[in-house]
Symmetry: C2
Subunit: 179 residues, 2 copies
């Protein structure tokens, strides 16, 4: 049986977590691996309806994603999570649980500057947030704690999606997590 692992994306809204996830899923599937994507929005609907965007509720939401991701990964599934997950303490807590169960936890920091994201801004969210119209908007009116030692960092504002995906595949191959 192939050993599952968690590919944990973290990064600001619009930094390319979901897009990059969708791009790499076929690369895993064509190698014959089982893959699940736990996307932020889908998970909020299925696991966390009613939770707010307060720090406490965000941590609960991320904890639930971590719990489900571990269940899947320990059964041989490559599990990708693509929620903002702004707080480092809860990410590190999930990493610790994974270490305990010997489930590899691969943190991918989707890094892009606020300026770059605000310039792109397809939904106009940064514009509104910068104008003070959205409360609890990560990176503008709410904290984002970047990972200090992520396994992988992709600069989605400077690299093409193919370059970022290549970095991820190269890392996973070097660690023997994919063949």
């Amino acid at each position: 049986m192939h050993k599952g692992f968690i590919l944990w994306f973290t990064g600001l809204s619009g930094s390319g977590k979901s897009t990059l996830s969708e791009h790499i899923i076929p690369l895993f599937k064509e190698r014959g691996y089982k893959v699940e994507l736990l996307d932020g929005d889908e998970v909020r609907t299925n696991l966390s309806k009613g939770l707010t965007f307060s720090k406490e509720d965000r941590d609960i939401n991320i904890g639930r994603i971590g719990y489900v991701a571990r269940l899947l990964a320990r059964n041989g599934v490559i599990t990708i999570t693509a929620a903002i997950s702004p707080y480092s303490a809860v990410r590190d807590e999930i990493r610790a649980y994974c270490d305990h169960e010997e489930v590899p936890f691969v943190e991918v920091y989707a890094n892009a500057t606020i300026d770059a994201l605000a310039a792109r801004d397809p939904k106009g969210l940064y514009k509104k947030a910068l104008a003070g119209e959205i409360k609890n908007f990560t990176g503008v009116s709410d904290p984002y704690e970047a990972p200090e030692n992520p396994e992988i960092e992709v600069r989605t504002d400077l690299e093409t999606i193919e370059q970022s995906a290549e970095k991820i595949v190269t890392y996973l191959t070097s660690k023997g997590l994919i063949g």
Copy 2:
């Protein structure tokens, strides 16, 4: 890859859902299958902290268990759930989602009379509930909707645990779900 499925226990508190689950897990593991148990209490801690025992919140809790069970089962895991799951509508909704994804959904009704459970009652819960001291206690002060057409019915008040387990194994074997 072995095809996963969901073994969905439903029944009153104390009817033997968890005990029977723990008893059959080794029977699956010795055949080389991957197995996960989503127990009612564990799931409440990890997915549903803060939810009450109102009908609405119970349904949300059961819906979350169903979502996670489907994720696991569609990746080849035998997924056992052991929550009371008192309302038939939400159980049938999960069954419909499973049908849609071609994940076999096997409902197991752990049937025991209230009298038998109240006579056993190791934690004294039925005694308190019958005395009106516990609100929303399923089967006493809260509804329990028994399944009309469960794939398997075990009479945990009349059968030994080995007899109930045998029924389950026989059914699963006859359907080709385990070998």
